[in-house]
């Protein structure tokens, strides 16, 4: 049994930690991690709950393959109602923390209520205790990790924590583990901060035992690893270039949102690309990239480890930033770079370090800065308000805003609202490049039409990790489709969304889906877990999870009107590149998508659909 069959419930208001048995009926229907934790969440929390209130809950959940030898089996997700969107939030992270929680004997932690004063949770195998964290409040995640290791005298203690952004209620604050792995999106860190919970420190020495058929499992995982190793993207591209392998590719196809989506190609893309990270710097002759790095169990190792140029303006005389740390992933490079027209690789890397250090999402942050810069160009926001001149392309403005947002100083708290609230506050809500209040990632729906539908219908707001049709439309995985075409994209988006829900619920990384389909995942799950994890059933499980999330959002007040894209993408055509002259064809795809899903025209699952999915 690859589940530990045990969950930890922490009542922060009462200060209690209790153990309960995992609901195995739900596990059979929702697998684990994203699916299973969301099931718990929707059963226990009213859809109308105010995200930053004590009535909201926060779940840290692993999947059945977390902590096993399945490649990338180290993932965990944080599930809550997101303060940025008001929708279901589910942010996934790698590193080592998730596996450690599993090794300690827990499938998930459900956190409820609000502590009267700052606390952290310490878990050592079966023992979970809340400790005073007042001495840690106000500290960065980089300070918290070594401090807790010293306090508990455990070099192997794994820590998931919030920085000052989470404390200060930045609406896209992240939960950071292992210094630079993030449950990054939708503001799960703000919910953690609202509960006065600074960190969860975990040590597990019990391990994961009870794999259903160990021999078959080892065989299945070895076969699946061979698929990853033999695939051009997961075997070569990602280890060497990381997700940054996409920077030049996406720019070339004219789907690189630039300067708050005013343009679809960025002239500075090459300066912030994977190739640029590999190239020796003029200043010190060293490359920005030090090495690649794996998360727990991962045989891809796409993680970037970078070192800053010590003479760069951002870190002169700041040796605390001279050590190696988490470098730019494509999304961060885009959001901090192209979205603002900034092409200073070191500045982006520094801003990324700050995002990790104080725990906030570089996508939403960078995209919000893009809106701020546009408002500055328009004269709506001024240097006096902002504390700095902030035209598009200003690296200094970007890094200044990163520091302000991290510390909650100056204009930082405004940027911490996210672009939807900020642009509305300053009278230009159309300039917010968001869906359901969450900022877009790095693919322009005018150049990759399927992504427009994926963004519009994503259950956690605009997101690339809910249905990554880029794989098909650009990379030809598993089959090539035309990125400029809307036909057939409804079915494609649905298929990606449902499959992704399974990957996210299994405990593995969605990046394996560059090489794996559910055909590769099914045998690993079948060998590890009791239950029916055949390909057919996995497709149903994925669809069930998607509809469960949708039901929650609908009950929380979302309607088909929220399955939309900003006016700019629907009315302002792409100016250059292959997509020149195109807008996002959402209106053509959305009705077809609803039909594919078995939803009514209002975007509500029909009774037949719910019955088919046993919902």
């Amino acid at each position: 049994m690859a589940w530990q069959r045990k969950i930890l419930r922490v009542d922060l208001t009462a200060g209690t930690c209790t153990s309960e048995a995992l609901n195995m009926d739900w596990a059979m229907a929702y697998l684990g991690q994203r699916g299973l934790a969301t099931k718990y969440f929707v059963e226990e929390v009213a859809p109308s709950v105010e995200p930053l209130s004590p009535a909201n809950k926060l779940i840290f959940a692993t999947g059945p393959l977390t902590g096993t030898m399945a490649s990338t089996g180290g993932r965990y997700s944080v599930i809550t109602k997101g303060p940025l969107t008001g929708a279901i939030a589910c942010s996934n992270s790698g590193g080592y923390w998730g596996a450690e929680l599993k090794m300690a004997g827990w499938d998930m932690i459900i956190l409820e209520g609000r502590a009267a004063s700052p606390v952290y949770l310490h878990i050592e195998n079966d023992t979970a205790t809340l400790h005073d964290a007042s001495a840690l409040w106000g500290k960065t995640t980089w300070d918290v990790e070594p401090a807790l290791r010293k306090i508990h005298q455990d070099s192997q203690l794994k820590i998931s924590s919030i920085g000052r952004a989470g404390e200060n209620g930045v609406l896209y604050a992240a939960v950071i583990n292992d210094l630079h792995r993030a449950a990054g999106r939708s503001g799960v860190g703000a919910v953690m901060g609202s509960k006065n919970l600074k960190a969860i420190a975990v040590r597990g020495t019990k391990g994961v035992a009870g794999i259903k058929d160990p021999k078959a499992f080892m065989k299945a995982t070895q076969a699946a690893k061979a698929v990853l190793a033999g695939n051009g993207v997961t075997g070569e591209g990602l280890p060497k270039f990381g997700t940054q392998v996409l920077m030049n590719v996406i720019n070339e196809v004219g789907a690189m949102p630039t300067r708050n989506f005013r343009d679809v190609q960025f002239e500075g893309a090459k300066d912030i690309s994977a190739e640029a990270m590999h190239a020796p710097r003029e200043t010190d002759g060293k490359a920005n990239l030090v090495t690649n790095q794996a998360c727990f169990g991962c045989t891809i190792a796409c993680g970037r480890i970078s070192k800053l140029d010590q003479t760069h303006y951002t870190v002169v005389n700041k040796p605390e930033y001279w050590a190696a740390s988490g470098g730019l992933e494509y999304e961060a490079a885009w959001a901090l770079g192209s979205a603002n027209g900034v092409n200073d690789l070191e500045a982006l890397t520094y801003a990324n370090f700050v995002c990790n250090e104080d725990g906030f999402d570089p996508i939403s942050f960078g995209a919000t800065v893009g809106a701020v810069m546009e408002l500055y160009q328009m004269g709506v926001l001024t240097k006096e308000q902002l504390g700095i001149e902030a035209p598009f392309g200003s690296a200094k403005a970007l890094t200044y805003f990163a520091e302000c947002t991290a510390k909650g100083e100056g204009f930082g708290p405004e940027i911490g609202l996210g672009s939807k609230r900020l642009t509305a506050k300053y009278g230009h809500p159309d300039l917010s490049m968001t869906v359901k209040g969450q900022e877009f990632p790095a693919y322009d729906p005018r150049g990759i039409q399927g992504m427009g539908l994926a963004y519009a219908t994503s259950n956690r707001g605009a997101c690339h990790l809910r249905g990554y049709t880029v794989a098909s439309e650009i990379l030809g995985i598993p089959v090539k489709t035309d990125p400029l075409e809307t036909d057939g994209k409804a079915g494609l988006v649905k298929a990606f969304q449902d499959a992704t829900a399974v990957f996210d619920s299994a405990g593995i990384c969605v990046f394996t889906s560059f090489a794996w389909t559910l055909v590769d995942v099914a045998p690993q799950l079948e060998a590890a877990c009791e239950g029916d994890w055949s390909l057919d059933n996995l497709n149903v499980v994925g669809e069930r999870i998607w509809n469960m999330e949708r039901q929650f959002n609908n009950a929380a007040g979302f309607t088909n009107k929220d399955d939309n894209l900003p006016k700019r993408l629907l009315t302002e055509a792409a100016k250059t590149g292959p997509a020149k002259g195109l807008v996002a064809g959402l209106d053509k795809m959305l009705p077809e998508y609803y039909a594919e899903r078995g939803w009514d025209t209002e975007g509500r699952p029909t009774a037949t659909t719910l019955e088919r999915l046993s919902l």
């Binding site: 391990g207 030090v290 727990f296 991962c298």
Partner: protein, 160 residues
């Protein structure tokens, strides 16, 4: 030719497949805490270093054992802990200067790398070739042995 584990730290990504493979081989459980090979993660530099027993010639563990529970396997050259004989006194854990023989509270015995009877699970599991099992005279294990020799000179230096 005797084989050794050959570690090329620069190739290590920190995935810990080796640690899981080790614990699975020896305990049937995925549990890095019970692994006999440990990956050190130097986050300041980005370097990760898989680290385990080199089966050193000095064999401090073997010599310090008061009950003859550690013997040298003739075919692999590995120092082997005989669990039936080990009383769990932990003297070997303070005698071994590499920290690569450790007490396991669950079993009440010590454990160390035994080269899996000549087919090390860690090397099999390593996806990047950072850990290989090859002829001893071509391994970079010399570096660890250099340090073994340095301590040896402190404690038992021959031919002064």
């Amino acid at each position: 030719m005797m084989k050794s584990l050959h570690i090329e730290a620069a190739k290590c990504t920190g995935c810990l497949q080796c640690e899981m493979a080790c614990s699975f081989e020896n305990y049937g459980v995925f549990n890095p805490a019970k692994s006999r090979i440990k990956v050190f993660d130097f986050h300041e530099t980005g370097l990760k270093v898989p680290y385990t027993c080199t089966q050193c010639a000095e064999a401090w563990c073997l010599k310090a054992c008061p009950v003859d529970a550690i013997t040298k396997d003739k075919s692999t050259g590995a120092m082997m802990v005989n669990e039936a004989t080990c009383v769990g006194c932990k003297v070997c854990t303070i005698a071994c200067p590499f920290g690569t023989i450790n007490y396991v509270a669950d079993t009440g015995k010590v454990q160390k790398c035994d080269l899996c009877e000549g087919s090390p699970a860690c090397a099999d599991a390593c996806p990047t070739g950072a850990i290989t099992y090859i002829d001893a005279d071509s391994t970079g294990i010399d570096r660890m042995r250099t340090w073994a020799a340095k301590l040896e000179n402190q404690t038992a230096g021959h031919a002064d």
